[in-house]
Symmetry: C2
Subunit: 221 residues, 2 copies
């Protein structure tokens, strides 16, 4: 099939947004959609959309547009979300449990099948359908159940240890929410979301453009 050499990360990101838009269009009964329309939905240009899609093949019909259902299914396959994907969460703190029950994950075919925590007191609790299991069983459990995806939400100090266990269990990818970047073999995909960095970046942008509404606190005007 269409397995292009190298696709840029921004492109894959946008593919996800196209996929969402196409789902909506499909639900509303639209049969075709133009690159311009897809672009508007995501705040992009039509050329960008066409370029992104052209990387994977010719899905459109010149003069007419893209067939919604076909393109949606194609993207589903390309993104690898064409079947339900089990995932585990490591770290059953507030963030971990919130992510484990995040409705948009299950809506996208991701199902949290287990959580892990070092705290014995938490073991046995349930979060949705998933049970909290002891952290020292991660490797066995992940391997036995053939889980490829993990969400890492431990404190920073525990992140590397947890990552090691996931790797030992043969994990395919880790969505990392810890403040560190764990070291893993090249073959394991890690994508990090650092919440503090996002907030700091926003902070910079605010200060940059315009001023703080109040740079000294308490000042109502």
């Amino acid at each position: 099939m269409s397995s292009p050499r190298k696709v840029s990360e921004p492109t894959v990101r946008r593919l996800s947004t196209y996929y969402r838009t196409l789902e909506d269009l499909a639900a509303s009964g639209q049969e075709t959609v133009s690159s311009g329309r897809l672009a508007d939905a995501g705040g992009l240009t039509s050329a960008q959309v066409r370029k992104d899609l052209s990387v994977f093949g010719s899905f459109g019909v010149r003069g007419r547009g893209y067939p919604v259902l076909h393109l949606r299914d194609a993207l589903k396959g390309i993104l690898g979300v064409d079947q339900d994907r089990p995932a585990v969460v490591v770290g059953a703190g507030r963030l971990g449990t919130a992510l484990a029950s995040y409705p948009n994950f299950s809506a996208r075919g991701f199902h949290i099948v287990a959580l892990f925590d070092v705290d014995p007191a938490r073991v046995g609790e349930h979060v949705g359908d998933a049970e909290i299991l002891p952290a020292d069983t991660i490797s066995d459990w992940v391997r036995r159940h053939g889980v490829c995806l993990a969400i890492l939400a431990t404190p920073a100090e525990a992140a590397q240890e947890a990552a090691n266990r996931l790797v030992a269990g043969g994990i395919g990818g880790i969505l990392n929410f810890t403040a560190t970047t764990p070291e893993v073999p090249e073959s394991v995909n890690v994508r990090s979301v650092n919440l503090s960095i996002e907030l700091e970046g926003l902070c910079y942008a605010i200060r940059e453009s315009g001023l703080w509404e109040s740079d000294r606190e308490g000042g109502a005007s």
Copy 2:
């Protein structure tokens, strides 16, 4: 001061990581650090580090490196995290409350001073030091307390309405965790973290590089 015309977003992101590394170095008593060392800590190149820093001025000493404390303080100021920043959370669901009590935020000078929710049953509850308030008081409250930062963690359907209220209250920036991208005036900074897209991107990467450990479920080997 050093207010360069335009700094790329990737650069600002990296600045945050340098800042973290510098804090660690400061704690461990290091007095100077080379660009190479800073680079290693974040998986970058030394040239990258020097370029990033040079945008804001000359912090280093040729032949010696960068003075840890001075550079740390400079970055603190550049990132705008040199003073405590109050922030509010809109949407007191699991994700919202988890973010409200996220320890790394407070460690970085971000303090959640209030949450807001449409559900009257939640109003009055406390999350850490912050109280959950009614969503229809957002504008007033934000304006009265001069809050510039908001974390948006409502369901997608409620996101635009919540954003409108924040904007009406004079918010400076929104860290958006909803599945939509709310429309706001140009002057308001929005940074979106779409968790599903991150997971889908990871999914793509796994499938791309190597294969799934098990592409059909249940298969132990």
